[in-house]
C-alpha cells in the first residue's frame, strides 16, 4: 500500500511536471494546485487531531475553515462592511480566534455526547454558522461574498513588492511552447512558501504534542474513554483542548485560502467541503500524518482533475455531480475494503524511545530497518 501511495503521488507530480514542460499547464496554476494541496494537508492535520487522535467526529470542518477565511477577509477586504484595509497578520489572529471561540461554543454542548450525536450536532451547528454568514448582510456582505482581499504579505518589507521586483523570464524547454514566468508566478511562489511554512509549523507542533503526555491521554481516550476516566483524567477537558487545537488549524487553512483566492463567499461553508477533508483523512488513515498528506493530494486530484475531464470534448458529464460521485464512491470503497486507510499510523503511535530498542512493524507491514523511512515514520 505504501508503495502504491507513493507511486500515486509521484504520478500526480509527474503529470503536473509534464503539463508544465508541454505548456498544457501554466506554471502559475501548477503552483496554485500545490498551494491547494498544502491547504488540504493543513485541514487534514487539523481533523486528524480531532478524529485521528481523539476520536471526535467533527462534521463542522467547513465552518472552521470558513470562519478562518472570513475572519481575515472581514478585516482586510476592500468591500468589507466592517473594517477593510487592515493588516493580514491581524486578520490571521482574528480568524484563529473566531475558530477557537466557535470550537468552545460547539464543544460545550456536544463533547459529552455519544460519538454519533456529535456528528449530527456539529453538522447542524455548522449549518447555523453558514446561515448566519449568508443572512447577516450588514456584517458579512451576505451571498455577494467578500472581494478585494490583499495577498498575505501586503505591507511587509521586501516580500510585499517581491512579485513586481522579479524579472520576467522566458524558458523554452520544448521548442514552440515557451514557459513565461511573470508577476502572478512570483505571487504564487510566495503563496506556496506561505502554506509550506504553515504546514511545517503545524506538522512539527503536532508531532511534538502527539508524543507528549497530553497526546498519550488523547490516544487513550480514543481507545477506551472509560479507561482514561478511571486513570483520573478529565476526558472532557482533554477533548475540548483537542477540539480547539484541531479547529484552529482548520481556520489557519481558511486564512491561507482567503489570501490565496482573494475572494470568499458563503459557499466556502458548504458541507461538501467538510466531506472533502473527511475523505482526505479516512483515505490516508485516521491518525496518520503521512496519510493526511496523501489525502491532500487525492482530494486535489478529485477537485481539479474533474475540471480537466470536463475540458475533454467527449466527456459530456457535469463536473459537479462527477465530483460528488467520486467522493461518494471513494468513501464507500475505503470503508468497505480498507477502513483503516491506505497509510495507517504505525510508528506515530509508538513511544519514540521504544523505537531505539526494537523496530516494531505496523499491521500489514514487513520488517525493515527503521532508518529507511527517515527514522520517525510520520
Amino acid at each position: 500500500m505504501e508503495r502504491y501511495s507513493v507511486a500515486f503521488v509521484l504520478a500526480l507530480l509527474l503529470a503536473i511536471g509534464v503539463g508544465l514542460v508541454t505548456g498544457g499547464l501554466g506554471p502559475t496554476y501548477a503552483l496554485y494546485l500545490i498551494g491547494l494541496v498544502g491547504m488540504y494537508m493543513l485541514l487534514s492535520l487539523g481533523l486528524n487531531v480531532q478524529w485521528g487522535y481523539t476520536g471526535l467526529i467533527n462534521f463542522s470542518v467547513a465552518a472552521f475553515f470558513g470562519l478562518g477565511a472570513y475572519g481575515t477577509a472581514i478585516l482586510t477586504a476592500d468591500n468589507s462592511p466592517i473594517a477593510g484595509g487592515l493588516s493580514p497578520v491581524l486578520g490571521l489572529f482574528v480568524g484563529l480566534l473566531l475558530a477557537a471561540v466557535l470550537a468552545v461554543i460547539i464543544g460545550i454542548p456536544t463533547l459529552r455526547l455519544r460519538a454519533d450525536y456529535l456528528a449530527i450536532a456539529s453538522l447542524g451547528l455548522a449549518e447555523v454558522v453558514r446561515l448566519i454568514v449568508l443572512n447577516e448582510r450588514e456584517y458579512t456582505n451576505g451571498s455577494a461574498g467578500l472581494r478585494g482581499i490583499p495577498g498575505f504579505f501586503e505591507g511587509w518589507p521586501v516580500l510585499s513588492t517581491f512579485p513586481q521586483a522579479m524579472p520576467g523570464l522566458r524558458i523554452e524547454v520544448i521548442p514552440g511552447s515557451p514557459i513565461v514566468l511573470q508577476q502572478p508566478f512570483y505571487q504564487a511562489v510566495l503563496n506556496v512558501g506561505l502554506v509550506f511554512v504553515f504546514v511545517a509549523v503545524t506538522f512539527l507542533l503536532l508531532r511534538r504534542v502527539h508524543r507528549s503526555p497530553w497526546g498519550r491521554v488523547l490516544r487513550t481516550i480514543r481507545g477506551d474513554e472509560d479507561l482514561a476516566e478511571a486513570l483520573g483524567k478529565n476526558t472532557y477537558g482533554f477533548k475540548m483542548q483537542s477540539f480547539v487545537l484541531g479547529s484552529v488549524i482548520m481556520a489557519l487553512a481558511g486564512v491561507f485560502y482567503a489570501h490565496l483566492n482573494l475572494f470568499v463567499s458563503p459557499g466556502d461553508f458548504e458541507p461538501i467541503n467538510t466531506f472533502y477533508v473527511w475523505i482526505a483523512v479516512i483515505l490516508g488513515g485516521s491518525g496518520s500524518n503521512r496519510g493526511a498528506m496523501f489525502g491532500g493530494f487525492v482530494v486535489i486530484a478529485i477537485r481539479e482533475g474533474t475540471r480537466f475531464l470536463n475540458g475533454i470534448d467527449f466527456v459530456v458529464l457535469d463536473i459537479g455531480p462527477l465530483r460528488l460521485l467520486a467522493v461518494g464512491l471513494l468513501i464507500i470503497l475505503v470503508m468497505r475494503f480498507r477502513p483503516e486507510g491506505v497509510l495507517p499510523p504505525q510508528r506515530e503511535l509508538i513511544w519514540p524511545s521504544a523505537l531505539d530498542d526494537a523496530d516494531v512493524p505496523g499491521p500489514g507491514e514487513t520488517q525493515r530497518p527503521h532508518a529507511a523511512d527517515g527514522g520517525d515514520g510520520s
Binding site: L113, D116, L125, E127, W278, D318, P321, L325, I331
Partner: protein, 306 residues
C-alpha cells in the same frame, strides 16, 4: 398571516417530517447507525414519482385536487425508494465490517452517490410535478386559513400511512418482531427471530415512508437533487427530539419540529428579529439543546419502546 394559518402550514410540513423521521428512527434502532443517506432516499422517491407522473399524469378522475395518476406515482416513488434501500443494504451495508461510526460515514458516501446519479440524469435545477396549482379552500378563508386541497391530501395521506404503520407494529407478527429486535437485537436473535429478515423489512418500511415523504415534499415545495439532504438535519432534529429509536417519539418529534419550523415568522411578528431564513437553524439549536438536557428525547427510554 394569521397564527391559525401558520399552524395549518405547520401541520402540512409536520406530516412530511413525520414520514421521514419514522424511517430514520426505525433504521437507527434496528440497523444501529445514523443513516445520512435517508434524506437522499427521499429525493430518490420524489424523482421516481416525477418520472412516473410524466407517464400516468392525466390518469383517471381527481381526488382531493390530485389526479389519480399522482397516487400511482406516489406508490412507485415509495416502491423505488424501498427497492434502492434494500439493494444498498445488500450490496453496501451488509458486507461492511466496521462499527456504527464507520456505517455512518459510509452512509454519507451512499448519499453522495444517490445525489450524483440523480444530478447526472435530471440536472441540478428545480422541477415541479406540473399539477395545476389550486386556489385555497373557500370555506376556510373566513378563518384566516389559506390551505389548498393538495395540503389536505398530504396530511390525509400521511395520517393513513402512520395509522397503517401503527397497525403493523401493534397487531401483526412482523410488527412484534420488529419491536423486539429494536429493543434488544441479541435477545431477539436467541428467541428465534430471524433478525436479518426483520432488518430487511425495516429498510423497506423506513425507506418507503421516506420515499412518500419525498414525494409530498416535492408536491409541497419543488423537486431538486438537494431537497433531501437539505431537510435531513431537520429530520434528525425531529428524531432526536422524540428520542432515537422510538417510532412514536419520532412521530411526536416530527410533529413538533414541523410546527416550530412553520411558526418561525411569529417571532418577527412579535418583535424578535429572527426571520424565516433561520427556521432550520432554530430546529438545529433545539436539537442540540435536547441532546444537552435530555439525550434520550421526549419519549425517553434507552433505545426503547417502539
Amino acid at each position: 398571516m394569521s397564527v391559525l394559518e401558520y399552524m395549518a402550514n405547520g401541520l402540512v410540513f409536520s406530516s412530511i417530517i413525520v414520514l421521514a423521521s419514522i424511517g430514520l428512527s426505525l433504521v437507527y434502532s434496528i440497523a444501529d447507525f445514523a443513516n445520512f443517506a435517508h434524506g437522499d432516499t427521499m429525493t430518490v422517491g420524489a424523482y421516481s414519482a416525477l418520472v412516473t407522473f410524466g407517464f400516468v399524469g392525466g390518469l383517471g378522475a381527481r381526488f382531493l385536487g390530485l389526479p389519480l395518476g399522482f397516487f400511482v406515482a406516489l406508490a412507485v416513488g415509495v416502491a423505488v425508494a424501498a427497492l434502492v434501500a434494500v439493494i444498498t443494504e445488500k450490496v453496501i451495508y451488509e458486507p461492511l465490517e466496521v462499527d456504527s461510526i464507520g456505517m455512518l460515514i459510509t452512509s454519507i458516501g451512499v448519499a453522495f452517490v444517490y445525489r450524483a446519479l440523480i444530478q447526472f440524469r435530471f440536472g441540478s435545477d428545480f422541477v415541479e410535478f406540473g399539477i395545476q396549482v389550486l386556489r385555497p379552500i373557500d370555506a376556510l378563508i373566513p378563518f384566516g386559513i389559506r390551505v389548498t386541497l393538495h395540503d389536505v391530501a398530504i396530511v390525509a395521506s400521511a395520517a393513513v400511512l402512520v395509522a397503517g404503520l401503527h397497525t403493523l407494529l401493534q397487531y401483526t407478527d412482523l410488527g412484534r418482531k420488529m419491536r423486539a429486535t429494536a429493543d434488544n437485537p441479541s435477545l431477539a436473535r436467541v428467541s428465534g427471530i430471524r433478525v436479518d429478515r426483520i432488518t430487511l423489512w425495516t429498510w423497506v418500511i423506513g425507506a418507503g415512508l421516506a420515499g412518500a415523504g419525498g414525494v409530498f415534499l416535492g408536491l409541497y415545495n419543488q423537486i431538486s437533487p438537494r431537497m433531501g439532504f437539505n431537510i435531513l438535519l431537520v429530520v434528525f432534529a425531529a428524531v432526536i427530539l422524540g428520542g432515537i429509536g422510538s417510532v412514536y417519539g419520532a412521530m411526536l418529534g416530527g410533529f413538533l419540529i414541523g410546527m416550530i419550523n412553520q411558526l418561525t415568522p411569529i417571532l418577527t411578528d412579535i418583535g424578535i428579529p429572527i426571520g424565516i431564513e433561520y427556521a432550520n437553524a432554530i430546529a438545529f439549536v433545539i436539537m442540540v439543546a435536547v441532546l444537552l438536557v435530555r439525550p434520550n428525547g421526549i419519549a425517553g427510554g434507552q433505545g426503547a419502546g417502539t
